[in-house]
């Protein structure tokens, strides 16, 4: 890769990686497995970058990376067939297609979420930090926070609903 290509790749990857990660973690429930797959996809994307022709189209690059991710997810699922929480192949295909259709909205949704997250405080924010920042499951979070934590699953579900509603509103209003 020459300097221009490195810059182009890094810029595209920086914009796409969170959405690519979202695609991977939508099919692979373990954060650590999803992390490993993301690194693998990144490596493949670097090696095959000369095949990607759409100059600086970030959405097209994200879709291209998701095609690579789909292959790696299916291979991972095949190798990890003992994990019964994974989806069957046809479901991964359906989710892939849905992600491809959603790709024009990736940036808007990410920006909207960043704004909406600022509005989440207190216990809701603390539970999200422990779940996503520390990678703890709801049981472990409940144990850590004790009685003052309340019902962690309920707090998480409520937070998701709030964030989802906030994102949809911002996108509808064009304020993402």
């Amino acid at each position: 890769m020459d300097d221009h290509e490195i810059t182009r790749f890094t810029s595209l990857w920086t914009q796409a990686q969170t959405s690519v990660y979202a695609f991977i973690s939508g099919s692979i429930s373990s954060f650590s497995d999803a992390d490993d797959l993301l690194q693998k996809v990144a490596g493949v994307a670097v090696t095959k970058f000369s095949d990607f022709k759409d100059e600086n189209d970030a959405a097209a690059f994200a879709r291209w990376c998701m095609k690579i991710s789909r292959f790696e997810i299916l291979r991972f699922m095949r190798d990890q067939a003992t994990d019964r929480h994974q989806f069957v192949t046809e479901t991964v295909e359906a989710v892939t297609e849905a992600f491809e259709e959603l790709s024009p909205e990736f940036d808007d949704r990410r920006h909207a979420l960043a704004k909406c997250l600022e509005g989440l405080q207190g216990r809701s924010r603390e539970v999200l930090e422990k779940r996503y920042g520390d990678g703890l499951k709801t049981g472990a979070i409940a144990e850590l926070m004790g009685p003052k934590g309340g019902n962690v699953s309920m707090i998480l579900n409520r937070s998701y609903k709030q964030l989802r509603a906030c994102i949809e509103t911002r996108i509808a209003e064009g304020t993402a």
Partner: protein, 463 residues
């Protein structure tokens, strides 16, 4: 979106659904494109949350740009001001720079799922095996493990049932309870009590199982150890060769079909009768078979049989211990889930070259070699891993025989294929690709043969 579906999606993204719930969600997603879109939106938010919160945490804790990126920048050659990019100095080093930056970005996401980051990073580095399959395992209280659990240097104790462990090296050990087995490292283990079989692939030779009195070093490929209640140890070699070391420093080299016994009463190693019967319960699990119903009976992987067993009522299942990875594709007749009762139902396809798989032969041959009448047997068999394809017809059976066994098919093979045209035979491959339900119907003088190709982990894949 229905509340219950929303809750199910969230539970699944957080890895907290049961098998049934995951299957229900899977079916819901596939039912309609709007459902798939709803799931994708939730998954997108889930993934974005992870990257945002971890990224914010990283910046909070370090107070600056992640170290790896800064290091990469310092390593770059100076550039002219006209060429310097605005965000990062990305000159020099080529692909290595891009990969390091990606690794630096990916470090945002490198967070384990368990309680303590440091403890779990250490644990994940020390983990070198996975519990691949459990069959009716009884655990001591509060020590139950699950399929998929990763193992490091630790002990396993089971009160009953059969358990299979796969090491990162590709070695597979199957334990029959009651048993106590200690994993010390990827190549060093100890059997305190019970019975085990071990299959050691090429490249993993040197795998060791110690017992209180012996050390067994595998030189490739498969062996079994049985410790009985009297304290006697029996080592049997199913395939390849092993070295058996005794505490008194004597050692013996054993090859396929040989066995030795160390008796507590009589000191020293003595040749023993080679007997695979004690390992009967282990074979299905060590082969990757979860369960079976109906007419299925399992043949031990060793010794490899050249002539088939006859039975009016049983379909025999035979497998080789080796993992195949062919340089060319393998043709199959059934490649998708469904019911196959007519020739038109077949879904021929090719398993791509380089795919790792195991092969199971299902064989039905009535005892009577001649006479009128037909014989029928049926049952279902569930594998631990997905079925990639099923070979039922002559041309593909012959091609497979050549590719897999290096043998040319004789004229008798034509009569061994499934008779779908006359609707006597039937195969059903389940939606999850793991269960095969078969009915085989054959006249006295003929045999039915079906080859099942099941996915196998490749040695290069990280468990």
């Amino acid at each position: 979106m229905r509340q219950d579906i929303h809750d199910l999606i969230i539970a699944h993204l957080n890895g907290e659904t049961t098998n049934e719930q995951a299957a229900e969600l899977s079916e819901w997603i596939r039912a309609d494109k709007t459902n798939a879109k709803a799931y994708a939106e939730a998954a997108l938010m889930h993934g974005h949350l992870r990257s945002m919160i971890v990224g914010q945490k990283s910046v909070r804790e370090s107070g600056e740009v992640p170290v790896e990126i800064a290091k990469v920048c310092r390593q770059q050659k100076p550039v002219t001001s006209e060429r310097r990019p605005r965000k990062l100095a990305l000159v020099g080093a080529g692909i290595l720079v891009a990969v390091m930056l990606i690794a630096a970005a990916a470090v945002h996401f490198s967070r384990p799922d368990d309680e303590s980051n440091i403890a779990n990073n250490q644990r994940s580095q020390e983990q070198f095996a996975t519990i691949e399959q459990l069959s009716n395992v009884e655990w001591p209280q509060d020590s139950a493990r699950e399929e998929g659990d990763r193992l490091g240097s630790e002990g396993l104790r089971i009160l009953g049932g059969v358990l299979r462990v796969r090491f990162n090296s590709g070695v597979e050990v199957t334990l029959q309870g009651p048993a106590q087995y200690h994993l010390e490292s990827i190549a060093q283990t100890r059997l305190e009590s019970g019975l085990l079989s071990a299959v050691v692939p090429d490249g993993a030779e040197g795998f060791v199982v110690e017992t209180p009195d012996l050390k067994v070093v595998d030189l490739g490929t498969a062996f079994g150890i049985q410790l009985d209640d009297d304290g006697d140890s029996v080592v049997s070699v199913f395939d390849g060769k092993v070295e058996v070391h005794h505490a008194d420093e004597s050692k013996q080299l054993l090859t396929e079909g040989q066995a030795v016994r160390l008796s507590r009463r009589r000191r020293g190693l003595a040749r023993a009768e080679y007997d695979t019967a004690p390992f009967e319960k282990v074979w299905p699990v060590s082969s990757g078979i979860e369960k079976s119903t109906g007419a299925f009976e399992f043949l031990p992987p060793w010794p490899q049989r050249s002539r088939a067993i006859r039975s009016d009522t049983n379909i025999y299942v035979a497998t080789q211990s080796r993992t195949f990875t062919l340089p060319e594709s393998l043709a199959v007749n059934i490649s998708v889930p469904g019911r196959y009762a007519r020739p038109d139902d077949l879904t021929p396809s090719q398993i791509p070259a380089g795919t790792a798989f195991h092969v199971f032969s299902l064989h039905y041959q009535p005892e009577r070699a001649e006479g009128p009448g037909r014989y029928r047997a049926s049952g279902s068999i569930t594998f631990n891993r997905p079925v990639l394809g099923v070979i039922t017809q002559h041309d593909e059976l012959a091609a497979g025989m050549l590719q897999l066994d290096g043998r040319v098919a004789g004229p008798a093979l034509e009569h061994r294929q499934l008779e779908l045209a006359s609707r006597n035979d039937m195969v059903i491959l389940s939606e999850d690709r793991k269960t095969l339900t078969i009915t085989l119907d054959t006249p006295a003088r003929f045999t039915d043969l079906v080859k099942v190709v099941v996915s196998a982990p490749s040695l290069s894949s990280k468990p």
